[in-house]
Symmetry: C2
Subunit: 258 residues, 2 copies
């Protein structure tokens, strides 16, 4: 299978760098083909702006959505954006690997999402009517592919537990799992999270590496997070609220998982 690893850490000689190298070798040894988008090494342009189109008009008003659509539809996207879209089309599975900085992904990876997820590619697709609200949340360009996060954090596992001060890790990651990955169609696997990274000696690293290897071996058999598809009857359209009979007692992020 084809695996794209999108990797965002500035230092190769880091825990993240070691885990990235391990993942690539482990997947290749199992017969998979791996491409890595090493965003720092690529000096990825993080900020979405008018220069993302190759026919930028100096005085034209820039509209982030509509200019993205025009550039995508007419082959006017910056080459770096088009190349990443090609990698996503090629991939059977996509892994985003990053340190959790301020409870989200690093800016350089957020900018990869913003620029690569063009209008017409990752959003703004399909019929918008009283019965459908576009091909998204379970449908879309990337449907049929799998995605998984590999995340490291200095905080303890208890700090990210159900009553931990940082919020439960599943809720902290929901905007990425549901809003960035499920939105354009990915089947989203449970994340691989490494806590308390300040205390990683060789013995602990070996354990982390083995657990990650198991998750990579299971990439095609792990059950995805059962998010609810938008257009399959669970939601009122166009309000996009859960119908009263679906998880009637739940509100918040948890209500969107079956």
């Amino acid at each position: 299978m084809n695996v794209l690893l999108v990797y965002a850490h500035p230092e190769p000689k880091s825990l993240n760098g070691s885990l990235k190298n391990f993942s690539v070798k482990h997947l290749e040894d199992a017969g998979h083909v791996v491409q890595v988008s090493d965003l720092y090494a690529m000096k990825w342009k993080a900020s979405l702006d008018a220069d993302d189109s190759t026919d930028r008009h100096a005085n034209a008003r820039f509209d982030p959505s509509l200019d993205s659509r025009r550039a995508f539809e007419h082959g006017l996207q910056s080459k770096d954006i088009a190349l990443e879209q090609d990698k996503l089309r090629w991939a059977d599975a996509v892994i985003l690997q990053f340190p959790l900085w301020w409870f989200s992904m690093p800016a350089i990876l957020k900018g990869w999402v913003e620029r690569v997820y063009a209008y017409g590619f990752a959003y703004g697709i399909g019929e918008h009517s009283d019965a459908r609200w576009g091909d998204r949340y379970g449908e879309g360009t990337l449907a049929g592919k799998r995605a998984m996060l590999i995340v490291t954090t200095g905080g303890w596992e208890s700090h990210y537990s159900a009553r931990g001060i940082n919020g439960p890790i599943d809720d902290v990651l929901f905007p990425i799992h549901h809003g960035v990955l499920y939105y354009p169609g990915f089947d989203v696997l449970p994340p691989f999270v490494v806590y308390r990274t300040g205390r990683t000696d060789d013995a602990r690293f070996a354990k982390i590496r083995d657990a990650l290897g198991q998750r990579l071996d299971d990439l095609w058999k792990t059950a995805p997070i059962p998010f609810r598809p938008q257009n399959s009857g669970a939601y009122n359209i166009p309000e996009l609220t859960l119908r009263p009979d679906v998880a009637p007692d739940l509100t918040g992020f948890a209500a969107h998982t079956a």
Copy 2:
């Protein structure tokens, strides 16, 4: 009072640009002093890396936290970082204004947080012991200052309601409110959110502007979100889980608001 407006939109002739100009004039007309960090206009460097220190050694291993601490403590930070820290020290209130892109802030603003929030400035402060876990979540460098988000989104308000498909707006913004603003000490006000920005005619813009003007008038009297301080007895330390007698029936983000 002194107000810092950190603004992240690439197009001045946008709804965001208009609201930013309105806010500056409205606050100045009320006698406040306003500074704007217009991140796109400043060509803000979004990606945190080794070049954020002025004495970068080419072959040294880069540690995002420890190098940040060293640069902060020894006056070796990039000038752009130090200038933003000065603005934060100067401000009585800080407003972050941005369009919600993929359920979080734009990469350029995330990179402002990552680079300006140095070790020793926004985290890694105070005693770490069995009784205290640093000066954070209600304490820290920015304690006593107020912060508020101004956020625009194309989605409808119902899409961000308690059972809306995107998740409740308060939960979507929790990692920013609690994790980025409350963490270094800010009192965090409820956000000013503009929904369905694709349909903003002059009459609607006038209403939005008036509502925003009211929020700016109330900047010093609006009650902050009552997040729970970390070191005031609500949490077990060092596990940092809520004590059993605090909100005993709650889990998730909601449990951290009194």
